[in-house]
Symmetry: C2
Subunit: 348 residues, 2 copies
DNA sequence: TGTTAGCACTCTCCTTAATCGAGTGCTAAA
DNA sequence: TTTAGCACTCGATTAAGGAGAGTGCTAACA
């Protein structure tokens, strides 16, 4: 599948892709010969282009147009023709410290980094929350807000904080609340969220009821609410720079824009997209390589971020296949690093 | 300004507006005569339309086109020609109870209702968080997460919960934490957030330092973080159904869509828009009536929502001036009521 | 044998012109 | 006061005619 191209073909392929990324239109032999000094005539380039088309690296929109890169062409470009070293993205890393001051919690950090990534790349960025499967419950605590209103606070070791206000019909005594806190703390803390399923919670409930004297009605009400807080309900995905897709010539068509924006409006879809990326550190999906049907004309550049060496979430950009890969790759690389750092710091 | 129109003019104006809302294009005398049985000939209607144009209720895109309503025309329509009774929006109110089960916190409730409103109206919906000026701090508590990591929890009487993880260089003893909790609780709880400005916090800081022996460095670090949590930084505005604007013919132009989406991407802008609505219960701003320059071709229908009779936030829709006002008005009405109920319940 | 110049051919895009049709305002009659 | 008739206006659609960019092929050349 991946044949070795001779140096001249490589140079020509690279030149076509670079030029196409800039101009967004088919590239002809004459333009190529003029702009890139390849030391050969347009006719020779034409021959080479015909070869590259036969090999599947280029496509021709119609008989008398120039060539555009195919998905395979981009794949070759990304794998063989560009260096993936992390280019310096000046002025970003220096601000990390200040950045953190302004960001309240993990959700803010993640959505903030998605926004920053979109600003850097001028493509739409997306980032997922830490997966609950790999998160442990670090702290569970019930606070009394008023006579019959409690606040349930859940904190994971991935620094996710979850709140739920629980309104009861009657009040719970301070003593019972503190007993509950001790009990729940013992039973639930340091467990993987994945293991806190309803069957385990049922067990805990049984045990608790045996030990403490609680009005059953009151308890049921509390426990229902409590159980609800553990439902996973899919990980949130944060978006940044949705309007950037409008700047791409490939979305000049209103219908396409509509389709794309509708897609980005659906959280399940975003989940599907970002979860279609396997575990690798930084992964690139080009056009048809995407599993999700509706983005087979798009490319994804997605990196994993970590909390103290544990892969917990993803951050990346989505744009047309005609993407500025080198710039995007280094941006995603840098931002995912910063995100890992910030979020590790936040989780203590 | 608001002259009394004779009945026939009223009927014609109403017919033109209703027809225009459906077709989105200029309405001619013939179509009007055919579709609405006004019992007069097109020629008569033409005369009336010319009158209505002179009075400013109609406009003519160009000499030989039909008429479209002007902002003044819409204003008359909204004020005089439609009834504002809350139409039944079936299947919505019944689900209120179930709805609440799924919604974790106030933010979820607000953004959920914005989404629902957009689905009901097929326009973009927006809703603001409870204003901090009218919110009181109900509970402040510091929890220990790990040796040198604390969680600061702030709860307002508008049920807004604010979390901040604070990482310190050294650890704080349990005794000191509980002292801090007692002290902060005394000093800060039941105060209006508006009054907890940095000068007041400085005072509290002074008093605290006098009473308790804390490593000054450690304390400073903690207090900086603490102070940060009180910064208002503008109220959040939640959006729903952004992509609906693409379905409006008036946004057939890519440039207009781009402008609009950019606008909705800026949170300050949304704040400005939603704050431009004064205190009235349900307010409608049509086209030029809007203060924000960029939405002078749009209409707003915004209602206030309440927490136990206290006006705390806004919820409404934004769409083209050619909006289905009757349907939108009753939807916004109903949804703002539900939101008030849900959020009052959540705040206990 | 690989490279290059020349040339006829193709296909899109843009501009211009022509036509269509919905709608108007005016006039004059009912 | 209302209505029918009519000339006129103007946007929208369609058609035709280049202009331009690019190709593939052939034949000559190093």
């Amino acid at each position: 599948m991946v044949e070795e191209l001779d140096p001249r073909k490589k140079r020509i392929l690279q030149a076509i892709i670079q030029e196409h990324i800039i101009s967004a239109s088919p590239i002809g032999s004459r333009t190529l010969a003029k702009k890139y000094n390849l030391d050969v005539s347009p006719a020779t380039i034409r021959n080479e282009m015909a070869d590259l088309e036969d090999l599947g690296y280029l496509e021709q929109p119609h008989t008398s147009a120039g060539r555009i890169p195919s998905d395979k062409g981009y794949r070759y470009y990304v794998d063989q023709l560009i260096s993936r070293k992390k280019n310096e993205v000046p002025g970003i890393i220096e601000n990390t410290e200040n950045l953190y001051q302004d960001l309240q919690d993990v959700q803010d950090i993640i959505s903030g980094m998605a926004k920053m990534l979109s600003k850097m790349t001028h493509y739409t960025a997306m980032a997922s929350e830490p997966k609950s499967q790999v998160s442990r419950l670090k702290k569970v605590e019930i606070m009394q807000l008023a006579d019959n209103s409690l606040l349930l606070v859940l904190v994971t070791d991935t620094a996710m904080v979850n709140n739920k206000i629980i309104n009861l019909d009657q009040s719970l005594s301070t003593a019972k609340i503190s007993y509950l806190n001790k009990f729940l703390s013992e039973k639930l803390e340091n467990k993987l969220l994945a293991n806190l399923d309803s069957s385990y919670l049922k067990e805990v409930e049984k045990e608790l009821l045996a030990k403490v004297d609680l009005s059953v009605d009151l308890f049921k009400q509390f426990y229902n609410e409590f159980e609800g807080a553990f439902e996973p309900g899919g990980v949130k995905v944060y978006l940044g720079g949705t309007s950037y897709i409008l700047e791409q010539p490939e979305f000049n068509d209103l219908e396409k824009v509509k389709k794309m924006l509708k897609l980005l409006d659906q959280e399940e879809m975003l989940n599907k997209i970002i979860n279609s990326i396997s575990g690798s550190d930084l992964e690139i999906k080009i056009g048809q390589e995407n599993e999700v049907e509706d983005i087979k004309n798009c490319s994804l550049v997605v990196a994993t971020y970590y909390i103290s060496e544990r892969a917990v979430g993803k951050i990346g950009v989505i744009g047309p296949t005609r993407m500025e890969y080198p710039r995007v790759i280094s941006s995603v690389d840098v931002i995912s690093d910063i995100l890992s750092k910030l979020i590790s710091k936040a989780s203590g």
